[in-house]
């Protein structure tokens, strides 16, 4: 009975449409409009970048209309606030560099050693305890580190090194280093964990010790990732503000002596904005020129780090 099996379709009386029609239309409207709204959310990130570049650039350019760019990069004195005003970026740059180098001397060896321990040596249980602790250390606000530097590290250093001033680059640099340890260790550990297990197994099968595996197999394989972590730490230390404002002083000086009081680019920006600088003055413009320098340097470092990390990922 094939005729009965096929339901007859009456062309004059089509089956009733579903009653949910209205709701479906609304849904399809949502389906159409949401991607647009979501795209706008994503676009804010680009607008933020444009905003940063635009504000920095426009004020920096008007600053350089008053202070010649050539003075900015060649003069060796930064004396913007009183007396005879000179705007040579080098003292601020050298202060920043001094802090950053000390910080990296602390953070890179300790962070890297911790990463090797966590990735190659540590039993699972130890890892489970230590990693959250390092995360907490990374989450401590920088102002707390500033307090730590000023009230504990500096007095301790003063008892070891007589004649050390209260505000000095050494104490601030060490504490900035401590702050970046978790960053170096977790990024390096990620790079090391990504090294294929088979490479380690091969070395162990040849009778290598854990140290030999870590140093001669894992570290070379994860090298660009580790370098990326160090570069990021460097960039983070350059941008660090509160620790150096609190503990490193406010005397821009072209020096490589960590026992002296210095001023970093970030600390200068804070110093100016704490005072009441009128909008449009040269001092006001100078924070944008310094901010631009800071932005360009950290940007270049971050892009380098990303490039390094990406190169590493492509190898396996």
């Amino acid at each position: 009975m094939p005729d009965q099996a096929i339901p007859s379709v009456d062309a004059k009386h089509p089956p009733a449409k579903p009653k949910m029609q209205f709701k479906n239309k609304r849904k399809s409207l949502m389906n159409w409009i949401m991607p647009v709204l979501l795209f706008l959310c994503a676009a804010t990130s680009i607008l933020t970048t444009i905003g940063i570049v635009y504000t920095l650039l426009s004020e920096t350019l008007s600053f350089f209309a008053k202070v010649p760019f050539i003075d900015f990069i060649t003069q060796t004195r930064w004396n913007p606030l009183m007396g005879e005003k000179t705007y040579g970026i080098w003292p601020l740059l050298s202060g920043t560099l001094l802090i950053t180098v000390i910080a990296c001397l602390v953070a890179v060896p300790i962070g890297l050693a911790a990463a090797i321990y966590l990735s190659e040596y540590a039993p699972k249980r130890v890892r489970k305890i230590v990693k959250p602790i390092l995360e907490v250390l990374a989450g401590v606000p920088t102002i707390v580190y500033g307090y730590f530097a000023l009230t504990l590290v500096t007095p301790t250093l003063q008892s070891l090194i007589p004649g050390l001033p209260i505000f000095n680059a050494l104490s601030a640099g060490i504490v900035v280093g401590i702050m970046t340890i978790p960053m170096v260790s977790s990024l390096s550990e990620d790079a090391m964990s990504a090294v294929p297990r088979s490479l380690r197994d091969g070395a162990y099968a040849l009778g290598a010790t854990r140290f030999e595996v870590a140093l001669k197999i894992v570290l070379p394989a994860a090298f660009s990732g580790v370098v990326a972590a160090a570069v990021l730490a460097f960039s983070r230390a350059i941008g660090e503000t509160m620790i150096v404002t609190v503990a490193a002083g406010a005397t821009p000086k072209l020096t490589a002596n960590p026992m002296e009081s210095i001023q970093t680019m970030t600390a200068y920006i804070v110093q100016v904005s704490l005072g009441d600088t009128p909008h449009g003055s040269i001092e006001y413009g100078s924070i944008f020129a310094v901010g631009m320098t800071l932005f360009v340097i950290t940007m270049l470092l971050n892009i380098t780090a990303q490039w390094l990390a990406k190169r590493f990922r492509e190898e396996y």
Partner: protein
């Protein structure tokens, strides 16, 4: 022959010793972080515990250390959190959904992605400069609560976007397929199949980003969050201060009593952060059990 075996044994022993010594060295390096955290907390608690009095919570800032409190700073931090949390949640999660679910894998999407990770590495003080120009001057919001909250929103957005993307990525493909198979359209799938299971992960990321925001000092110093605020903010445009700025102000004073006060303020700030991080961890654990 025997000599050779003897020499070999010596070498193996030596290598084992080196391995052991470095094991200890690496362990020591790892414990530096743990040790510092313990020293830091003990130092701050010892300095600040005596000042952890009701006055700290009930009084406004004062020139006399004995009467100074941080009521306006605590309230300011909470207000700022309440304003920035919804704004940054909507924009951050929206951007993450777009990038993970809608964006086609073309050059433009890669550019947005690169841009977000670059923004995450911009020093916080640069956001302060942006906020000062954009919100305080250009939009004429003055040195107000809303200007501060918007600046901090821009600062935490990249963190929230990246965390939300991770959470959305972790939702198994099968959930989407099942939803599509039932006849749902794209938005229905995203809102009813993907989001519910990504939400705990997203919330964890948002809470962590918020805890980063309430500890930030530099951008708000730029914005001009004043420290001498002897009133509670009563509108979005009222001037304000927050805990880290109050602490910074106390640290910057030469007198010892103010340093002790700063330590007490830090205890309050850290307690608040700990509470937030703890709730984030609880959320994360719940999330992990579910999957």
């Amino acid at each position: 022959m025997k000599d050779l075996i003897q020499e070999d044994r010596g070498r193996v022993l030596m290598r084992r010793r080196i391995d052991f010594a470095l094991n200890l060295l690496f362990l020591a390096a790892t414990s530096v972080g743990v040790l510092v955290l313990v020293v830091l907390i003990v130092d701050i608690v010892m300095d600040g515990l005596n000042n952890l009095t009701p006055e700290l919570f009930n009084n406004y800032p004062s020139r006399k250390a004995a009467q100074a409190g941080m009521k306006s700073a605590i309230v300011g931090t909470i207000y700022m959190l309440l304003i920035m949390a919804p704004i940054s949640f909507v924009f951050g999660v929206g951007a993450a959904i777009y990038l993970e679910e809608y964006a086609s894998k073309n050059r433009f999407t890669r550019f947005i992605q690169l841009n977000i990770s670059t923004l995450a590495g911009v020093p916080s003080i640069v956001y302060g400069i942006l906020g000062l120009t954009l919100f305080v001057r250009l939009m004429a919001l003055e040195r107000s609560l809303i200007a501060g909250a918007l600046t901090m929103t821009l600062l935490v957005l990249p963190i929230i976007i990246v965390a939300s993307q991770e959470a959305i990525k972790a939702v198994p493909r099968s959930r989407r397929d099942a939803s599509f198979a039932l006849g749902a359209n794209k938005w229905q799938t995203v809102s009813r199949a993907v989001m519910p299971s990504a939400l705990p992960g997203i919330l964890t990321g948002v809470i962590l980003a918020m805890s980063r925001a309430i500890g930030e000092t530099a951008p708000l110093v730029m914005i001009g969050a004043l420290t001498y605020i002897a009133f509670l903010p009563d509108s979005l445009k009222s001037s304000f201060t927050v805990m880290p700025i109050q602490i910074f102000n106390w640290i910057s004073r030469p007198q010892e009593e103010f340093h002790m006060l700063a330590a007490a303020g830090i205890i309050v700030l850290l307690a608040m952060l700990l509470l937030m991080n703890f709730s984030a961890i609880l959320l994360r654990n719940k999330f992990q059990n579910k999957l």
